[in-house]
């Protein structure tokens, strides 16, 4: 089932430090276009740190250092990118649904407005398109002026996904996007992620191994800051190569 998609992110010999603590050790990984890549591993294994390195969200934390290289379409994102340009291409969805305390419309229009789009007709189009793509248009189209915080958790998360889509990124990073949601809302988001795969490259961190299995094409298993195994999800879940991976996914870890 080897796919022929082109490489989007290429990570080579990457190290990551929080002060003196080395959170990631010599990571080498390729993330391909229009695929869902899942990052799994126990808490503190570095998977979230890795994810947040891909749009330089870790820049916000003081005292961090990245070594090695991460390239997006061949361009080094730490050396040859302005961080804001990067974030327009690599969007992010967070663990807890975090809509801004404003109307649904303003939430979606936030990103486009930052980029200078002022015309109401254009904004209207972007808002509708993004909400449709996030499979929530039908549920909210009649009250776009409603405060986004009045929606349910699952709806809020889809609003957040729509908000990310509104700046037209190529890659979407998701940091445990369903960990705060109930099973039904979770499955809805999973279906949505599957749908989004056609147009976007998706990297998702999840604590829920079944979720990684359900939605991803490739899975990377992290442990203590190291990338232990990276392969097709089918393979990793039915016949992993590394003993540590086997122990983790069978629940015999530690």
């Amino acid at each position: 089932m080897e796919t022929k998609n082109s490489v989007k992110f290429k990570i080579e010999n990457m190290d990551f430090h929080y002060g003196d603590f080395q959170a990631l050790k010599n990571i080498n990984l390729e993330i391909k276009e229009n695929e869902i890549t899942a990052l799994i591993g126990p808490s503190g294994c570095g998977k979230s740190t890795f994810l947040r390195s891909l749009n330089r969200m870790n820049d916000l934390i003081e005292n961090t250092k990245v070594d090695g290289s991460i390239t997006l379409d061949g361009v080094d994102i730490y050396k040859d990118y302005d961080v804001i340009d990067l974030r327009l291409r690599v969007g992010m969805v967070f663990q807890k649904p975090n809509p801004f305390p404003m109307s649904i419309y303003d939430n979606i229009a936030y990103g486009p407005r930052l980029n200078g789009i002022r015309k109401k007709s254009v904004l209207d189009k972007i808002v509708e398109k993004s909400l449709r793509a996030a499979a929530i248009w039908d549920e909210v189209k009649d009250d776009l002026k409603k405060n986004a915080l009045a929606l349910s958790g699952g709806q809020q998360q889809r609003i957040c996904i729509a908000r990310t889509l509104a700046v037209e990124p190529e890659v979407i990073l998701m940091d445990e996007p369903t960990s705060a949601l109930d099973p039904i809302a979770t499955l809805k988001i999973e279906d949505l992620i599957n749908e989004l795969k056609k147009d976007y490259t998706i990297v998702i961190v999840t604590h829920n191994m079944q979720q990684a299995g359900r939605i991803s094409d490739k899975t990377a298993f992290f442990l203590m800051g190291e990338l232990i195994e990276f392969s097709e999800t089918d393979k990793l879940f039915s016949n992993p190569e590394n003993k540590k991976t086997e122990d983790y996914i069978t629940g015999r870890f530690g």
Binding site: N98, M102, L114, V167
Partner: protein, 306 residues
């Protein structure tokens, strides 16, 4: 509590002896009741003192507090005296304090929370701001006298008084704003950055709107403290009796607490001054009541939106 007998075989407690525990229950219930009564008495005491105070003041002000009193000019003769000038003085004072504290206080809080590096220096400054809030107001009066009154040559004008009071309440506004900014969930900032926003855009569009209710509450409470302060103004050397009603910030002035202070002092000369002081106190209390109510309403209305 009735004693229940549990068959030996059904006893589930390994370490606790239900017999003994039962004996202790009575004692524990009694201690609880004593505590309850004690706490109730303290609040009765506090309320009683407050009631006596307010009762006395209102009693003294009856017959003196009327529309003529509020709109009239100051006078040596008690029956002719009015506090229009005093109210104007306090109002103009607040017109200086409010914008200055709000701007400087919020700007400081934003810098401290959003821009500065969180290291040892940051912590040191934070502790100092908190300590400043506890410095006696007289000290601020001396600072105001030296810096605004003498150095800047503002004398005992409203501007000098307002700036001095601003310094006095700034720490409160800074701390309240810092808390309000901290209460804005980090996930919202991350969402904004994630969409390609800069720090300033994030502060302006996400952090400040979220922190506004907290900032407003803190600022109003600070204002209500400023409006009741006497000591710094006394130190600045506010004249005892001003007949002229102030119209600008460079005018000399007197304010509600100051006038209360002087009238109370002069009660030995003219007995009726006590009634004038009482009437002025009622006006000041009314203002404080309105301000504090506004703060509480804002706080409740916008509480916990995330």
């Amino acid at each position: 509590m009735t004693k229940t007998t549990v068959p030996e075989s059904h006893r589930t407690h390994k370490y606790i002896d239900p017999e003994k525990a039962h004996q202790r229950v009575k004692k524990r219930v009694m201690i609880n009741n004593i505590a309850h009564v004690l706490f109730f008495l303290t609040i009765v005491f506090a309320m009683a003192v407050l009631c006596v105070l307010i009762f006395n003041i209102i009693k003294d002000s009856i017959g003196w507090l009327d529309w003529k009193f509020i709109t009239g000019k100051l006078s040596i003769k008690p029956e002719k005296a009015g506090i229009k000038g005093v109210i104007m003085g306090s109002a103009l004072l607040m017109a200086v304090v409010a914008p200055v504290t709000l701007f400087v206080g919020v700007a400081t809080a934003i810098y401290m929370e959003e821009y500065s590096k969180k290291g040892a220096i940051h912590a040191l400054i934070n502790i100092n701001i908190a300590n400043l809030a506890g410095v006696p107001s007289v000290i601020f009066g001396l600072l105001g006298l030296t810096v605004f009154g003498r150095l800047f040559g503002l004398g005992s004008s409203i501007l000098a008084g307002g700036l001095t009071l601003s310094l006095l309440v700034l720490p409160n506004v800074v701390v309240a704003s810092q808390e309000a900014i901290k209460a804005v969930p980090n996930s919202l900032r991350e969402a904004s950055y994630g969409l390609g926003a800069t720090k300033w855009t994030t502060v302006r569009k996400v952090v400040l709107p979220g922190a506004l209710p907290g900032i407003m509450t803190g600022s109003i409470l600070a204002l209500s403290r400023a409006i009741g302060e006497t000591a710094p103004l006394v130190v600045l050397g506010i004249p005892t009796l001003i007949m002229k009603i102030p119209t600008g910030v460079m005018d000399d002035f007197t304010a509600l607490p100051i006038q209360i202070y002087y009238w109370t002092l002069d009660t030995v000369l003219t007995k009726e001054y006590a009634n004038l002081a009482a009437a002025t106190i009622v006006v000041l209390l009314g203002t404080l009541f309105v301000l504090n109510s506004a703060a509480i309403i804002i706080r409740n209305k916008f509480q916990r939106r995330y």
